[in-house]
């Protein structure tokens, strides 16, 4: 019997027994649904990590020279922490030699960050993150203004008391007011607000927009580090990957000389790129995918057992039909094919239904919770293959029982 004929027959049988077929494929459907959903969420988190979280902290083709990596996720050895803690700080005196060593086609900036209280006369004191910057910080971070203006070179060089607000701080410190030109006090010192940045978005529901930016040379630097000459990071952005590596090598050489490190010893500073920050995620993602696939797989095993059971019942119920078919010339392989195709069709339908529901569930989760979801095309392919495979595997035994029935006995069955 040709394959298409068998599929047609299977669909016909399934159509006749709608409710029973639905229950039969429910197991596979639910298994595939969770597979798709879980993989979508992992995929979505991965994309979030790469494009949003890390992308927002570390710009493209850039590295950040720091005492220790800024992004520390995953498990950390206490001895590593201990080593980080003992490292020398970066000083503003390191900046000039580093910048001088940079190759053509690079931009640089420096930043220091700290938690501060900001007080305006229009609202109660607000906790926020203050960032003291120098160099082409806005250019590297690709952060534009929605209101007011950026710092002038003079303001940066003189360290004037001027401030650019993150969007959240506008509402928090100046509710219902235009903040430009107004005063905001940080650490008792008044600053004049000259601009508002565009939004940096949010990650897992946490806003990235609660910050104020001042020139590093302004008095704000005293609040950000224990000593006023300390800085947190030098940020270098290259026009491409090759220049970036070249820049990293030169900066490493400068810093090792300045810190008088002997050849063979490790660096006592870190140069973090978006790739290095994502290493931890790649590791976690591997485990998550295994867990995310293994758990729905249990559902699929249950689904397979259900299908096998139902197919065994079907073979028993349709013994007479099998006898008739054999009397009319069906060979063993015809009967075998009929039942395997029926089981595979059932299961594949379940998988397709599960994929649709899984995509819907993933979208619903993405819409209703901070968890992101992005449907991975490979998971759809895997879903269909798994569905078909489950059907074939669970159909083999019942089908072989059917094909081995003796036609005379089968015809006698009531």
């Amino acid at each position: 019997m040709p394959f298409l004929e068998a599929v047609r027959l299977a669909l016909q049988t399934i159509r006749v027994q709608k409710l029973k077929s639905f229950f039969t494929l429910a197991g596979v459907c639910i298994g595939v649904m969770f597979l798709i959903t879980v993989v979508s969420i992992i995929e979505g988190m991965g994309r979030y990590m790469k494009e949003d979280l890390v992308g927002k902290i570390i710009a493209v083709n850039s590295f950040e020279l720091r005492r220790r990596p800024n992004i520390n996720m995953g498990e950390m050895d206490p001895s590593v922490w201990e080593e980080y803690r003992r490292r020398r700080r970066l000083y503003v005196s390191d900046l000039l030699p580093v910048v001088e060593a940079l190759p053509e086609g690079t931009k640089w900036a420096q930043e220091s960050e700290g938690g501060v209280q900001a007080t305006s006369q229009y609202a109660r004191p607000r906790s926020t993150t203050a960032i003291g910057i120098d160099g082409d910080w806005f250019g590297i971070k690709q952060l534009g203004m929605t209101d007011g203006r950026a710092f002038t070179e003079q303001e940066m060089a003189q360290g004037e008391n001027v401030l650019i607000l993150g969007p959240d701080m506008v509402d928090r410190a100046f509710p219902g007011l235009d903040p430009i030109g107004r005063e905001l006090r940080i650490g008792g010192i008044p600053y004049r607000v000259i601009g508002v940045t565009e939004s940096r978005g949010s990650v897992f529901g946490i806003s990235f927009d609660n910050f104020v930016i001042a020139p590093w040379r302004s008095p704000i630097r005293r609040l950000l580090n224990p000593e006023p000459q300390m800085i947190d990071a030098v940020i270098v952005q290259a026009e491409n990957q090759t220049v970036l590596i070249e820049a990293q090598e030169r900066v490493r050489a400068v810093m090792r000389t300045r810190h008088k490190l002997r050849p063979g010893t490790g660096d006592d500073f870190s140069m973090e790129t978006s790739a290095s920050a994502l290493e931890f995620w790649d590791k976690i993602e591997g485990y998550l995918v295994i867990a995310g696939v293994a758990l729905p797989a249990i559902g699929l095993v249950v689904g397979a057992i259900v299908i096998m059971n139902i197919m065994l019942v079907a073979v028993a119920e349709r013994t007479r039909e099998i006898g008739i078919r054999k009397a009319l010339g069906a060979k063993r392989r015809d009967i075998l094919a009929q039942f395997i195709v029926e089981s595979a069709t059932l299961s594949t339908l379940g998988a397709i239904l599960g994929i649709a529901l899984g995509i819907a569930l993933a979208q619903a989760i993405a819409a209703l919770t901070p968890l992101p979801a992005s449907v991975a095309p490979w998971s759809i392919v895997v879903g269909v293959l798994v569905g078909g495979g489950v059907g074939i595997i669970s159909g083999v035994y019942p089908a072989s029982r059917a094909s081995l029935l003796d036609p005379i006995t089968a015809l006698r069955q009531e």
Partner: protein, 267 residues
């Protein structure tokens, strides 16, 4: 009318049959559709050996209309299963349409059933969820015939049994006689060498039985070889030749006239 028919349709004689059956091991000429030589069949029923057939010799020439008669336990069902290639003998030869069937394996038997035999059962054995048309198409599906040709030939077969109007009905929407006619259409659709009917009127009232017997009569008239297994003498009397089995052997193998005369039946 029956007198007239017998002149037209050749009926094999006892002497002719003996010659064919006695040539053990030799393929019979194509003229002989069925030849069995010393066919034995035993069953092991939980340690007890049941000897259903104890050496049966039958020869049926093409175009014959033969009834196989016998009380229950006579072995007629076993013989029908063997003739229908649903079962094979433990001993002896069975030649169907020039092929030695008695040594064939399952899949070959399936092919022979599909090509050479058209079954008509007592309980009709139609697929309950399929339409009349789909039921009739079934043997053609297993013969690997394209769906267009299948449909065409199944329609023809159904029209030949006057069911052209009811092709899309399911078995439960048809009367007993109509169901049996669907079964006959299905049996004939692949143009088999023999039409093999097992108690074809067993589940029908006498009026419908007569109607089905007329269909068989008509088929025999057009030259279809028909073998009918029955335990009812008046049904057997519709055939032109009646083989009577008893205790696994042939008790008699006679022309209809001799058979009816012995039983005092009138036609």
């Amino acid at each position: 009318m029956s007198q007239h028919l017998e002149e037209e349709v050749p009926l094999s004689t006892t002497a002719e049959r003996k010659i064919i059956v006695d040539q053990a091991g030799a393929a019979p000429s194509k003229e002989w559709v069925i030849v069995t030589r010393g066919v034995k069949r035993e069953y092991d029923m939980g340690g007890e050996i049941v000897r259903a057939l104890r050496g049966v010799d039958i020869a049926v020439r093409r175009n014959e209309y033969v009834a196989i008669m016998g009380p229950s336990g006579s072995g007629k069902s076993t013989l029908m299963n063997i003739i229908g290639c649903l079962d094979t003998p433990n001993e002896g030869e069975y030649w169907l349409n020039g092929q030695l069937v008695s040594t064939m394996k399952d899949d070959e038997l399936a092919r022979v059933r599909n090509k050479e035999i058209g079954f008509v059962f007592q309980t009709f054995n139609l697929l309950p969820r399929a339409t009349a048309l789909a039921n009739v198409e079934l043997p053609l599906v297993y013969a690997g015939i394209s769906s267009n040709e299948r449909r065409e030939r199944a329609m023809e077969a159904l029209e030949a049994v006057q069911l052209g109007e009811r092709v899309h009905h399911r078995p439960n929407e048809l009367s007993g006689g109509q169901r049996q006619r669907v079964a006959i259409a299905r049996a004939l659709v692949n143009r088999p060498s023999i039409l093999l009917a097992d108690e074809p009127t067993g589940n029908l009232d006498s009026k419908t039985s007569e109607e089905i017997m007329r269909v068989f009569e008509g088929l025999a008239e057009t030259g279809q070889t028909v073998i009918m297994v029955t335990h009812e003498p008046d049904i057997a009397a519709h055939a032109r030749r009646v083989v009577v089995l008893r205790d696994g052997t042939i008790e008699s193998d006679e022309r209809r006239e001799v058979f009816t005369e012995k039983l005092g039946l009138t036609l």
